[in-house]
């Protein structure tokens, strides 16, 4: 591994100043150190932000607010999270492994890098790691890659589970930077690859994620995360779905759906949601609505199965909302 320096900061201002001068923030390090060991990422100066007061989990009126440094394991186990937003807890528990969840932070999770194997091999062509070098996944092994939001330059999926849940629940995030503070939907954090796949998110230079906020709604409790994969744990999603329903008097009043494992970013499915409004929640209704999910999808040589897997995953996730965990 290459040499680097690491310093601790104890104030948000110092962290912003450090980040603005080109230093790299490190929280749990489960993404960053991993990639540094492979020399995929080579930051020379790290700033350890773990001492910042940003790990609180609190309720603000009925919104759930999670500090960017809260650990995945702590958030998942928190009684308020389980009570108010069980979808968040479920999506976290389904992610990574217990060891990783103990280290990994929510802010870091949102900014984790893709799991495309070619991205992680420094000698392979990869536009994301090395702009304009090509995309080895296009003509190579791409069973795990995306079918939505891809470009000719990059087809990697966004790997986070909790991000799918946050996008489904209309979560917002508060960030602080040299120019001050701003709040925007988590969904807007992620960029499509287009012809600049090396640009993954919309944070401005020096900006720090402070917290995410999940608004409570009548759908919050009737919400489930279904992650489909070949082994029962410690595997990224082949396909996942975060689904939530607001049902009153036997009729769907509101529906939320985002899917993972298929898009180059967490993929909100508003057309499917709209098709459910006013209907009675049952399998046939879910099936009819899920049909549109693969519209516009572009399968690669190795991932046609995702076209088949996505609709039933959505259907099951909606069904599960009625079978509370």
């Amino acid at each position: 591994m290459f040499p680097f320096t690491i310093e601790k900061v104890t104030s948000v201002e110092a962290a912003i100043a450090a980040a603005s001068s080109g230093r790299r923030l490190i929280a749990g390090g489960t993404t960053l150190i991993d990639l540094m060991r492979e020399e995929v990422e080579q930051p020379q100066q790290l700033v350890d932000i773990n001492a910042l007061p940003m790990s609180e989990i609190r309720i603000d009126r009925s919104d759930l607010v999670i500090g960017a440094l809260a650990r995945m394991a702590d958030v998942a186990a928190h009684p308020d999270v389980q009570r108010l937003q069980p979808l968040i807890a479920e999506s976290l528990i389904e992610g990574a492994s217990p060891q990783l969840r103990n280290m990994a932070s929510i802010g870091g999770n949102l900014l984790q890098r893709v799991r495309c194997p070619y991205f992680r091999m420094v000698d392979a062509a990869c536009n994301k790691r090395n702009p304009r070098s090509g995309c080895a996944a296009l003509g190579g092994l791409n069973a795990g890659h995306a079918i939505l939001g891809t470009s000719d330059h990059c087809v990697a999926t966004h790997p986070s589970d909790v991000a799918v849940a946050l996008v489904a629940l209309d979560a917002t995030m508060r960030v602080k930077g040299p120019k001050g503070e701003r709040t925007f939907p988590v969904e807007e954090l992620f960029r499509l690859p287009g012809d600049t796949p090396h640009l993954e998110h919309t944070l401005l230079p020096g900006e720090l994620i402070v917290e995410v906020r999940i608004p409570w709604g009548p759908h919050s409790r009737r919400a489930r995360y279904l992650k489909v994969r070949d082994r029962a744990s410690y595997e990224f999603a082949l396909v996942s779905a975060a689904a939530a329903l607001d049902v009153a008097e036997g009729v769907i009043r509101g529906a939320r759906l985002a899917v993972g494992g298929v898009g180059t970013r967490p993929w909100r499915m508003r057309a499917v949601e709209a098709a459910l409004i006013g209907k009675v929640p049952d399998r046939r209704v879910f099936q009819a609505a899920a049909r549109s999910a693969v519209e516009g999808a572009r399968p690669l040589s190795g991932n046609h199965y995702k076209l088949e897997l996505l609709p039933p995953t959505i259907v099951r996730a909606f069904e599960m909302t009625g079978e509370i965990a």
Partner: protein
């Protein structure tokens, strides 16, 4: 005389050392002044090294040497082959020329004062290549099958072609038949402990602390490579953190560690990265097999055809017992087996737990299940109708065979009678339930071994042999054999293994350690006991004794372990996830030396079988032969949540012919049979016959025809 120690479910004698960290593995033997070596692996799949830009790297902090084919010493590479090396071909000569034969082949090694400096320098080393496109798909258009040289003779241990009767004609005439192709993915062993070697020279004497399943072979191989007398090399390996066969051969990294240590004039430590464990340390070869079965309407086999092809490298012909079991598992007058190899631009494969048998039995036992459905017979009933009285391939009686007893015991413990045979007929709520069964078999080998025992005046004993313990519990079971034979309590016996200067033992693989090493220890302890009976006990009494199989028994009998494996799975009919819910194995393995260890061996093998059936697959990029998922997060193996209730049972079996201890071996058979039982359960659950491993969600989900 203390009797009854053999057969006791003793806990591991080395358990405390392992869980407290006191047990020392190869990489723990750090030497004073030790430097660190890191291998630079080829990033092309075939071609030549065009240049190695070592000048820049040599100036980096701490770098002591950069060795490549340009400056590496030319090694003797004297002839040496043991039974675990492929009989045909020549091992990879490392850093001796510019050729790149496969992706990941070592092309340089960087030595530095600290591990960080060595890793940094290895990453910075620029190597340029003239690359060619490798051929890595053994079923692709460029694949050319060959007849394995060592299988050409009709009396070969693994014959390329073997036949009795006229299987093709019988097949053509059979009223009921199955004729299918089964494809099993390449797997890598992936033990917890990475390969590691610390090499230290003192003049012309070399000491290696090195992860090895057979230290005496590592000694002989390194001596041959460096042109040294074997006495000049000592290999030490008291503990192994899992191996599954990957440490049977002495791979290039051991040579590189020794080469580097001699070059820099100080001890050198070399540990492979997880990724490098996918390059040069062997793999279970991908196999493609055709099985054709012909049967009468009442379920008597009239024809068995088994044609199997395995991948190998371009420079060695790796062979395994792919088609062997087919010749004797069932009674059938017409049997034809064929075994071929496809040389590819990859490293040489190697034995992986249940080698050959696990793959071959998968194909045969899936086909038997398919036949049972065609005949509308219970799969156990079909096997019962074809239970042979003798080994019809060898024309010999079995020394013992309890397959049907295994089926009886297993069926009872599993609750097979609750199964309704119709596919998709069993449910648990939304989930489709499948129950599958398969036979397992593995030879009861026995190799020559020598042990030394010493009875000390204080009434304790020491026993030594150059054996290994990669996890099955050899330390414990051998202590039991010695204690019982010497008439001592277990606490009074100190058993040591893992040094090449101990009396020689065969490789720790092939399920012959208990038989071979155990028999040698028993012989040495009997010699000591007899000497002690003569009188004086005030000075140490030492004896060295060897054992081997009685040649007469070997000529008279066919010797194999047998087992029956039952599996229940659940499939989510909507999203296709397959989860094993429970597994029961019943085995006839002769005498059980330690039921606790035996059970642990079996459940470990079952986990391996679950991996083989549902997860494990090394994926190669056809463009450059690169293993794309060379990472613990991407090469799937079962995790705790995938492991349900696993049970192993042993039928009472006395075999007086195999060896004096009456043991038949267990480590390998424990993995055989699990994958076909799972595949058969998948068919039972979902009505979909999947003939490729691993079976994945997409295989059950897609509307591909059955």
């Amino acid at each position: 005389m203390t009797t009854g120690i053999i057969g006791q479910p003793l806990p591991r004698v080395d358990g405390r050392a392992k869980v407290t960290g006191a047990a020392r593995y190869a990489a723990d033997f750090n030497q004073p002044g030790q430097a660190y070596a890191v291998i630079v692996s080829a990033t092309v799949g075939l071609g030549r090294v065009a240049g190695v830009d070592s000048a820049a790297v040599e100036k980096m902090p701490g770098v002591l040497a950069v060795l490549s084919h340009l400056n590496a010493p030319r090694l003797a590479y004297g002839p040496h082959k043991s039974y675990i090396d492929p009989a045909t071909g020549e091992r990879l000569h490392v850093l001796q020329d510019e050729r790149v034969r496969f992706h990941g082949q070592p092309v340089a090694v960087v030595v530095a004062t600290t591990i960080a400096q060595a890793e940094r320098a290895a990453a910075a080393l620029r190597v340029s290549y003239n690359a060619e496109r490798p051929v890595v798909d053994c079923a692709g258009p460029e694949a050319r099958a060959i007849v394995p040289e060592a299988g050409r003779q009709p009396d070969a241990r693994l014959p390329a072609d073997k036949a009795r009767g006229d299987a093709d004609r019988a097949l053509a005439e059979a009223p009921v038949k199955v004729d299918e192709t089964y494809d099993i993915a390449r797997e890598n062993h992936n033990p917890m402990e990475p390969h590691a070697t610390i090499a230290s020279w003192s003049g012309d004497r070399l000491t290696l602390w090195s992860k090895s399943q057979v230290v005496v072979n590592e000694q002989a191989e390194i001596a041959a490579i460096f042109g040294l007398p074997p006495e000049s090399v000592t290999v030490i390996c008291p503990f192994i953190g899992g191996a599954f066969g990957t440490s049977l051969r002495t791979w290039p990294h051991v040579t590189l560690a020794a080469m580097a240590a001699r070059h820099v004039g100080r001890p050198v430590k070399l540990v492979l990265t997880r990724k490098q464990m996918f390059f040069t340390t062997g793999h279970r070869p991908r196999t493609v097999q055709r099985i054709a079965l012909g049967a009468t309407a009442d379920g008597k086999l009239t024809s068995v055809v088994h044609e199997g092809t395995g991948e190998t490298s371009r420079y060695e012909e790796f062979m395994e017992a792919l088609t062997s079991v087919t010749t004797f598992l069932y009674s059938c007058p017409n049997v034809r087996t064929r075994y071929r190899l496809v040389p590819l631009d990859t490293g040489t494969p190697n034995h992986m737990r249940g080698p050959g048998e696990a793959s071959g039995v998968f194909a045969l036992e899936c086909a038997m299940d398919e036949l049972a459905y065609k005949l509308r017979l219970d799969p156990i009933d079909l096997r019962r109708r074809n239970e042979p009285a003798t080994d019809q391939g060898e024309n010999k009686p079995f020394s013992s065979r309890s397959l049907m007893k295994c089926y009886d015991l297993g069926a009872e413990r599993f609750g097979w009678s609750r199964r309704t045979p119709e596919p998709r007929s069993m449910r648990d709520g939304r989930l489709l339930i499948g129950m599958g069964v398969a036979s397992a078999s593995y030879p009861a080998f026995h190799a020559p071994a020598t042990a030394r025992a010493r009875l000390l005046p204080d009434g304790t004993a020491e026993v030594e042999i150059a054996a290994s313990d990669m996890g099955p519990g050899t330390y414990t079971s051998m202590t039991q054999v010695a204690a019982e034979t010497l008439g001592l309590s277990v606490e009074r016996v100190r058993f040591s293994l893992g040094r090449s200067d101990y009396p020689p033992a065969p490789s720790h693989g092939g399920s012959w350690t208990m038989a071979s090493v155990g028999s040698a220890i028993r012989a040495a302890c009997i010699a000591v006991r007899e000497e002690a009976a003569k009188g004086r006990k005030d000075r140490p009494i030492e004896a060295t004794a060897s054992s081997q199989r009685d040649p007469e028994a070997a000529a008279r009998f066919s010797m194999h372990s047998f087992g029956a494996v039952f599996v229940e799975i659940a499939i989510d009919p909507d999203v296709g996830t397959i989860r094993v819910r429970r597994a029961v194995g019943a085995y006839g393995i002769g005498r059980v030396v330690n039921p606790r260890l035996a059970s642990s061996q079996c459940t470990g093998g079952m986990v391996g079988g679950i991996g083989m059936a549902l997860m494990e697959r090394t994926v190669l990029d056809a463009r450059d032969g690169r293993p794309v998922n060379a990472h613990m997060a991407d090469y799937l193996m079962p995790v705790n949540l995938d492991i349900p209730q696993l049970e192993a049972h042993f039928v009472a079996e006395t075999d007086p012919h195999v060896n004096a201890l009456g043991v038949k071996g267990l480590g390998e058979i424990a993995l055989v049979g699990i994958a076909p039982a799972i595949a058969n359960a998948v068919f039972h659950a979902a009505g979909k016959r999947v003939r490729t491993l691993p079976i994945r969600i997409e295989d059950v989900l897609t509307r591909r025809s059955v």
